[in-house]
């Protein structure tokens, strides 16, 4: 006879050891995330007062960033009429702290559950005295610990360096941690659904992306957000409005959300076999189409799933962002804008911004594509391909050609999707080709990212993750560069800073040529480097 209590103990057997192992495996990862988020906090707390000096100057600029388009990207913009530094930092940058905490949590849960199960490392663990629920529990606890560490780091730094009031900062920091935990809960579900950690992270990432888009639409409509905002887990922490409303109750939402999703995750995990998923596996074809037997055909076969997923996600995003044009037209403009722009100018400015914003994601796709090549190498599958009569540069060029063509096609299609979203609501179909050309104009910048990543793959493959720094740099400065008043050369490091901002500006050929040249140099150097180095793995 086992009592309920004993059953619970059995199901969680081995939990302390497992948690210890995870902490040990992640000691650098958690430290790096904590330090990174701490530096981000330090940067905004220190840089804003430096850039704006007195509070008056901040008030003027902040007014600019309370416009609907900025609200799409930063949140409900509480207290932006005449903000203090504390209000500006927490309400202006909060969203990006939330995004990072969510991302960290998704990767953490996926890494310690499905990634282990997929590689059968978990089988070794589960063969010991380890309860059925111990792994997921330990992964969730680890992620909670990481979120606590991050929140504490942010709280300490903003408190010590910024010297803002404790209550508001505590609200800010706790909100970040709870949002992270909420997305850990989402991932507890997705790791039961997909057999692969990448698929599980991808699904959770889609939820994160959808949350970003939904709250974008909601916040764009009105200062303080609209009803739509409340449907997005990302928006809840922002609705606490630190230093403005200072309300704690919205944090009950991410807390409840985290509990419910985690419970669902546990429940789903009892409904499946070890190593299996909730998606069925059917027998496939006994032979392959002839076209897969060429370097190009094989590259397409390998990348097509990634390409289709990104295209689908970005088309949906583009349609949504395009459709927000209506809310933009209806939204009341701050006075400062009414003097400067007509609503048409604002619309075109918004669409030009979107034409630059969507290609950031295409650049992220190219980094992931090259990372896939690297994982082919480390899993020794590349060895099997290179044991065939095919040169390394032939293989690599074929893969890169597919990635580059796909990046170009995705950019164009996403531009069209954004144009369609806008055209439907403002009834101007000329927007479709216009936005298409505008996103296409950023393809050379995307290819620069591909070039850098290829260079790293060929020469210093362990440093491929550095390519994400360039993407992050471009996104950050592209979004906040003007706000932070940084020197133009700092902006200029981002390849996305150079192409003409169509459709507001006219097309310029020079930036395209120079960026393309840089991209080609990076790719060629990478291919040559790869020809000369050892193929590692195993």
């Amino acid at each position: 006879m086992t009592t309920v209590r004993e059953t619970r103990e059995t199901e969680l057997a081995g939990l302390p050891v497992l948690l210890g192992l995870m902490v040990r495996r992640d000691r650098f990862t958690i430290t790096a995330w904590t330090i990174g988020m701490g530096i981000f906090a330090l940067y905004v707390v220190a840089a804003i007062p430096m850039a704006y000096g007195e509070n008056g100057a901040l008030g003027e600029s902040a007014g600019l960033f309370a416009d609907p388009m900025s609200r799409l990207l930063i949140g409900p913009a509480y207290g932006f009429d005449d903000p203090t530094f504390a209000q500006f930092v927490t309400n202006g940058y909060g969203l990006y702290f939330l995004l990072l905490a969510a991302l960290m949590s998704i990767l953490s849960v996926s890494r310690h559950t499905r990634a282990d199960e997929q590689t059968t490392r978990a089988e070794l663990l589960r063969a010991n005295v380890v309860g059925r629920h111990a792994t997921l529990t330990a992964a969730m606890l680890l992620t909670v610990i990481a979120n606590v560490a991050i929140s504490l780091a942010i709280l300490l730094i903003t408190l010590l360096v910024g010297g803002y009031a404790f209550n508001g900062l505590a609200l800010f920091a706790v909100g970040i941690g709870l949002t992270g935990v909420a997305f850990a809960g989402v991932t507890a579900i997705t790791v039961q659904l997909s057999e692969y950690s990448r698929g599980a992270s991808g699904l959770a990432g889609m939820v994160l992306g959808a949350a970003f888009v939904i709250r974008g639409g909601g916040d764009l409509a009105a200062v303080g957000g609209s009803t739509l905002s409340w449907f997005a887990p990302l928006a809840w922490a922002q609705q606490t409005a630190p230093f403005v409303l200072d309300r704690w109750w919205p944090l009950l939402l991410p807390l409840a959300f985290a509990i419910v999703t985690t419970m669902c995750g546990f429940w789903l995990s009892t409904k499946r076999d070890f190593g299996a998923s909730h998606f069925q596996v059917k027998p496939g074809a006994a032979s392959a189409p002839a076209r897969w037997g060429t370097a190009l055909g094989w590259a397409w076969r390998q990348q097509r799933a990634l390409i289709f997923t990104w295209t689908a996600a970005l088309v949906v995003g583009g349609l949504a962002f395009g459709a927000f044009s209506e809310a933009l037209q209806d939204a009341e403009l701050p006075e400062i804008f009414a003097d400067l722009f007509t609503s048409d100018d604002l619309l075109m400015g918004y669409l030009a911004y979107m034409a630059k914003f969507m290609p950031y994601f295409v650049a992220a796709f190219t980094v992931m594509a090259v990372q896939t090549l690297r994982s082919e190498e480390t899993t020794t599958r590349l060895e099997s391909i290179l044991a065939m009569p095919i040169t390394r540069h032939h293989w690599l060029f074929a893969q890169l050609a597919v990635t580059a063509v796909a990046a170009t096609a995705i950019s164009l299609v996403v531009g069209w999707a954004t144009g369609v979203g806008a055209a439907v609501v403002v009834d101007d179909w000329s927007l479709v080709p216009d936005i298409g050309w505008a996103t296409l104009n950023y393809v050379p910048a995307v290819l620069v990212v591909l070039g850098l990543t290829t260079f790293l793959f060929g020469v210093m493959p362990r440093l491929i993750p550095l390519a994400w720094l360039l993407v992050g740099y471009a996104v950050f400065l592209g979004s906040f560069g003007d706000l932070l008043d940084v020197p133009s050369w700092v902006l200029g490091i981002s390849p996305f800073a150079h192409p003409a901002e169509m459709p507001v500006e006219r097309f310029e050929v020079m930036p395209c040529l120079i960026l393309s040249l840089i991209a080609v140099v990076g790719i060629v150097c990478g291919v040559f480097g790869f020809r000369r180095r050892d193929v590692s793995g195993g």
Binding site: Y196, A286, W292, W298, A305, M388
Partner: protein, 307 residues
Amino acid sequence: MTDAIVMENVVKRFGPTTALDGTNLRVRTGEVHGFLGPNGAGKSTTIRVLLGLLRHDSGTVRLLDADPWKDTVSLHRRLAYVPGDVQLWPNLTGGEIIDVFGRLRGGFSEARKNDMCERFALDPRKKARTYSKGNRQKVALVSALVSDVELFLFDEPTSGLDPLMEAEFQEVVRELTGEGRTVLLSSHILAQVESLADRLSIIRDGQTVESGSLADLRHLSRTAITVTTQHSTVGLAQLPGVHNWTEVEGRSQFEVDGPELDTVLRVLTPLGVLSLVAHPPTLEQLLLRHYSDRVSPETRAATLGNS
């Protein structure tokens, strides 16, 4: 051309560690060459150098009379490789992967694919993610065997296969050599090497420690004797050329150097021999001699006694 593979004094370093430290290897065209060594000895590194995946630091490497680093593509048309730990694309079926490999290599026989799938009892319609270790190994084996190539590089090709499949593999290798093809067989399965290999090389810590036909190597070695006698054989232990002598309840075990065999048998007969088993050293014993400083005397004695 009589040598399919020639490696002379090949050195390969990975940072501070030296994986190959003057490796020598000579594989004659048309033979099955056993390639033996403990884990971490440098067997897989050697094969990766031969595939042009790794660039050696010094020494000479010739493969089918060409340079594996420079002439990679033309060489890979003429060889097939089976790794010991096969990783496949989880979302493709075994059949699809065999086809892709076959086509990348420049063509393959559909009939032979079906034949091989049948002989190795491989279901080509299953996704690679559902394959066990042994089935992944079969996919790699079949995809190598469907191609018409001169040289096969096998790196522990049958790890994870059951004894029936192991027998099938040996049969297939005999067919290959019957057709004049060359096989480099790195393996831990001594019975496999013993039954297939014409010659073999033993590598340890990146150096070739022994090379030759099994008969050559046996010649260098001792005869193992297990004998039951009426009187104690304790006097034998003192004789020159007798090694590892033990006696338990009238049953003695020892090894004798070839030249001393006659003397030892003369001493043995008067002791009243009740039963006697003598056999040439097995490959296992040869190997244990070469690895012996890693093996404890007890394990060694036990293995010698049981074999």
